[in-house]
């Protein structure tokens, strides 16, 4: 089955992963800007990173037949530095119109601090001003529930951002209902220990349905599985779910969400590129 991984950090993965993902049916990846594992020293570090996301990585993905899309931001972890964050937010428009950019992400909260909220709100204002899609990171572990509720509060304060243009990622059982009740898209991240599993993702879809929901690997520089989405496919098949339902979650839904970006262009496997993706 063809699938799209809507949240994966390919800059931190080797080409073996591209090869493996392609063999398992991956046709496209969407890569949010994230924390590199260390705090970058200056806005120039972000300039170089955005070049990597918009120039080098799409070419690397192409070698394996994958289409590569990305998101831009200063991540929640580094957002504690408000002055650097403002420099990065001012830099983002230079890169926003590059062809593989889908919008702003992964913005969000990390430890739910006042500075993180300030930077999150300023990203949202940029997204509203430019009509961009938004991909949101919700915090890890004990911070997730509180942070998700705070994020939803802040999003509600931006009536100029359409709910259907926002993906709230890394949701789990205690946050999914809040995300759906607020009208947003919901991402389930299949990541060892700190986030969801293929089985729990299947459970959540059985409880809430397959509308407005995506699954992703968020594979990065830590222990993580770029084959997480195929593992989810296998779990759903094991439970007897119809292929149409599985395909909806892993292929149709990402396309439906991404198509809202004015820059999105996608060539279906074996087909010609459509003008509007």
């Amino acid at each position: 089955m063809y699938y799209i991984d809507p949240h994966v950090h390919m800059v931190s993965r080797v080409t073996d992963d591209y090869e493996r993902m392609a063999r398992m049916g991956c046709v496209a990846v969407s890569e949010p800007a994230f924390w590199a594992g260390f705090d970058r020293g200056s806005v120039d570090g972000f300039r170089d990173y955005f070049r990597q996301l918009t120039e080098f990585e799409p070419n690397r993905a192409k070698q394996y037949g994958l289409q590569h899309y990305c998101w831009l931001c200063i991540n929640a972890k580094e957002a504690e530095n408000v002055s650097l964050s403002r420099e990065v937010i001012a830099l983002i428009p230079e890169f926003l119109d590059r062809p593989n950019v889908l919008g702003l992400g992964e913005i969000g909260l990390n430890k739910n601090t006042k500075n993180e909220c300030t930077v999150f709100e300023e990203h949202l204002q940029l997204a509203a001003d430019r009509g961009e899609l938004v991909l949101v990171h919700t915090p890890h572990l004990q911070d997730k529930y509180k942070g998700t509720r705070m994020i939803l509060d802040m999003l509600r304060g931006h009536s100029d951002i359409k709910a259907e243009h926002v993906l709230i990622d890394h949701a789990e059982e205690h946050t999914v209902r809040h995300v759906f009740d607020a009208g947003f898209w919901c991402g389930l991240t299949l990541y060892p220990v700190t986030k969801c599993t293929p089985a729990r993702a299947a459970d959540i879809i059985e409880m809430y349905g397959a509308e407005r929901i995506l699954v992703n690997s968020a594979a990065d520089w830590g222990p993580s599985n770029p084959d997480a989405v195929p593992n989810f496919v296998a779990e759903m098949r094991r439970r007897g779910h119809p292929e149409e339902t599985i395909r909806q979650v892993v292929y149709d839904n990402p396309l439906e969400f991404f198509r809202q970006s004015k820059r999105f262009r996608f060539t279906p496997p074996g087909g010609a590129a459509s003008p509007e993706g």
Binding site: N112, Q142, Y145, M150, H174, R200, R238
Partner: protein, 83 residues
């Protein structure tokens, strides 16, 4: 297909994995007990959370995954914007 037979299928399919994970948890708790100073951590907040979670697992009420996640979550404060 009746709900009872579907639940039976789920139980048949998942029993061994559930069993393995419970044994892992049991072994981990034994490991803590065997370690030096075990009595000093008995009331560590994390162990209190673990015991509360095990209580939830043993309950007949639903939404166990959600309730266990809430045990390990900081509370949301509706007035968080106020200084």
């Amino acid at each position: 297909m009746s709900m009872a037979s579907v639940a039976r299928e789920v139980l048949d399919r998942d029993f061994l994995e559930i069993r393995a994970r419970l044994i892992d948890i049991a072994a981990a708790l034994d490991r803590i007990d065997r370690a030096e100073g075990a009595e000093r951590v008995r009331n560590d907040g994390r162990l209190v959370q673990i015991r509360e979670s095990l209580r939830i697992l043993a309950s007949e009420d639903g939404r166990r995954a959600e309730r266990v996640l809430m045990v390990f979550s900081d509370p949301y404060e509706p007035n968080w914007r106020q200084p």
